[in-house]
């Protein structure tokens, strides 16, 4: 048997069920791996070793008692610190929530526990999920396992780095503008934004409620699908949760066959501003799909280039409203309460000290866009653009089964490079934002290394609302063909960790 921490989630679950390995052994192997590499990667904000051991023991006891085990029982997982956990701190990467112990579990946290998944701890993220590098975390950035001087992407960069560094076979993130797919792409792992409403937001600290979507990160398409099915499904505690069956993503991931499918290339996302090495690998991936029997055609989506500006009005507007709850009154940080200051003064001091620069920028941007006199010109127009983008998708999906593009315009950029240049940072999500605005499903799968810098490139596959299974089918086909031609999984080439 391979080293336990190098096994996939599917392999671990099968070993635990069959008695080849205990959940306790698997958990110890991952905790040891975290101890070994996390001082360099810094993926975790909190490692819950004792809780993880307890969860693993419970799985082993259930097996010993002859109880049936679910498809991910005994599999370790890295949970983004945006999901509430009643036995672990939840900070959202923010000083304003430093040390906060939530009184309840998020629905997804609860579902993972009930499935016997072993939560190893909470992972680093850009503060309140605003960012593309984890550099906006109040607790310092995480590092990319391919090159420790580069970002792991964001905002779910702690989870993507943990998965890429073999600290956990599975990670959970949230995607509001690309925060699962972009870190997945730049860390060389699979990242999935399911259809909006397919995964519960209950207990997910809100950033932009009409966009926030929890989803899986994994080293293989099948592992992502297994986690997708465990996480997903209707939740009465979330009013925007869709009451419909979960798309058959596991069956699709096992059916890696694109023959007869029609795949649309979005020309708006292949031109200027893209790194040549990214475009080279993307073009090869499209040719590969054609050679595997798919019909490839170009489908223009003219309003996609307006998605980024629309997003940077809609998301900050929702954030400025959602983050009003951090007022220092009921939980979290309180600053300057000396008996002389008013509640309003204490609030303003608390928020000024508790929030980082990017969160402040976005709160003020949202406040501006929603101000009387500017609302129609900014927020109102952005909502109209959202309609135009949705119509582009609908017209495209009348013609093709899925759309493809590079996931990101560039590979992982150096730490520090964009930290004080917000517009440059925002461009990292250029290709991922349209699917957040329209609510459809999208997946990033590694499609090789950029020839100009040797770093991973992601292929984004976009599918219609509630047709998440289609992108798994395409992703699994690309993964299988590339693994076969390379002779080994892509992550074997990651040299950031000695």
């Amino acid at each position: 048997m391979a080293e336990l921490f190098r096994m996939t989630a599917a392999e671990i679950a099968a070993a635990v069920r069959g008695g080849g390995a205990s959940a306790a052994e698997v958990t110890e192997a991952h905790l040891a791996r975290i101890e070994q590499v996390d001082p360099q990667v810094r993926a975790f904000l909190h490692v819950a070793a004792d809780r993880a051991r307890e969860a693993a023991r419970a799985v082993d006891q259930r097996r010993a008692a002859g109880e049936p085990l679910g498809p991910l029982a005994g599999v370790p997982l890295a949970l983004k610190d945006v999901f509430t956990t009643k036995d672990m701190p939840t900070t959202c990467g923010s000083a304003i929530l430093n040390g906060w112990l939530p009184p309840y579990d998020a629905t997804i946290t609860r579902r993972l526990r009930e499935a016997g998944v072993v939560i190893l701890g909470k992972t680093n993220m850009d503060e309140f999920a605003m960012g593309s590098s984890t550099e906006n975390s109040a607790f310092g950035p995480s590092h990319n396992p391919w090159d420790l001087s580069r970002v792991p992407g964001g905002s779910s960069g702690g989870s993507s780095a943990a998965v890429a560094a073999y600290e956990a076979p599975l990670g959970v993130g949230t995607d509001t503008g690309g925060s699962i797919r972009q870190p997945g792409a730049v860390c060389g792992v699979v990242g999935v934004k399911p259809t909006y409403g397919g995964n519960s937001r209950y207990g997910v600290v809100a950033f932009a409620s009409s966009l926030d979507t929890p989803g899986p990160l994994a080293r293989t398409v099948l592992d992502a699908a297994l986690l997708h099915e465990v996480m997903s499904g209707h939740d009465p505690c979330d009013a925007t949760s869709i009451d419909a069956p979960v798309p058959p993503v596991v069956a699709a991931a096992r059916h890696a066959d694109v023959s007869g499918m029609t795949i649309g290339v979005v020309p708006e996302f292949t031109g200027e501003g893209f790194q040549p090495g990214v475009l080279a690998r993307f073009t090869e991936a499209v040719e590969l799909l054609e050679s595997l029997g798919a019909k490839v055609t170009e489908v223009s989506c003219p309003h996609f280039t307006y998605a980024l500006p629309a997003y940077y009005l809609i998301a900050p507007s929702e954030a400025s409203s959602n983050l009003a709850r951090f007022d220092g009154m009921r939980y979290g940080l309180r600053v300057g309460d000396d008996g002389t200051r008013s509640a309003e003064e204490v609030m303003a001091l608390t928020r000024a000290q508790g929030f980082g620069a990017e969160v402040k920028r976005r709160i003020m941007l949202g406040t501006y866009a929603l101000s009387s006199g500017y609302y129609d010109a900014y927020y109102g127009k952005a909502q109209q653009v959202r309609t135009l983008i949705t119509r582009d998708f609908e017209a495209a999906f009348d013609r093709v089964d899925v759309l493809v593009s590079p996931t990101t315009p560039t590979t992982a950029f150096p730490l520090g490079e964009r930290v004080d240049d917000p517009m440059a940072m925002y461009l990292a999500d250029l290709c991922t934002i349209p699917s957040d605005l329209a609510g459809n499903a999208a997946l990033s799968v590694p499609c090789g290394l950029s020839p100009d810098d040797g770093l991973p490139v992601g292929l984004q596959i976009m599918a219609p609302v509630l047709a998440d299974d289609r992108m798994y089918r395409v992703g699994a086909a690309v993964e299988a063909a590339l693994d076969t031609s390379r002779g080994h999984p892509l992550l074997n080439d990651a040299k950031g960790l000695a």
């Binding site: 000024a352 406040t367 501006y368 900014y378």
Partner: protein, 97 residues
């Protein structure tokens, strides 16, 4: 329309952010650049296009009106910055006369 430093100071007050002078100096040009960039939405959003506030068509969601247990006061107050007589203690909310 460019965003002046005074506008940013006003936004900070509306946002309940007690920003220092150097923060305002730093933020003003950044917000100006961002707002100029996002104004591009005005190029294509013509009249007559309905706004989308939400990706999934929403209707009212109802459930049976059944009692479920809620969190007890001790749990809720356990994370509070200040507690008095089993309540959140907050700074004064009215001006002193």
């Amino acid at each position: 329309m460019p965003i002046a430093r005074d506008d940013v100071a006003h936004l900070a007050r509306l946002s309940r952010l007690a920003l220092a002078d150097d923060e305002l100096d730093h933020l003003a040009p950044q917000l100006d650049e961002i707002i100029a960039a996002v104004a591009r939405v005005q190029e294509v959003a013509a009249e007559g296009i309905p706004p989308t506030s939400h990706a999934v068509p929403l209707v009212n969601v109802f459930r049976e009106d059944t009692e479920v247990p809620c969190l007890d006061a001790e749990t809720v107050l356990s994370q509070a910055p200040a507690v008095e007589q089993q309540r959140f203690r907050v700074p004064r909310i009215l001006a002193e006369d």
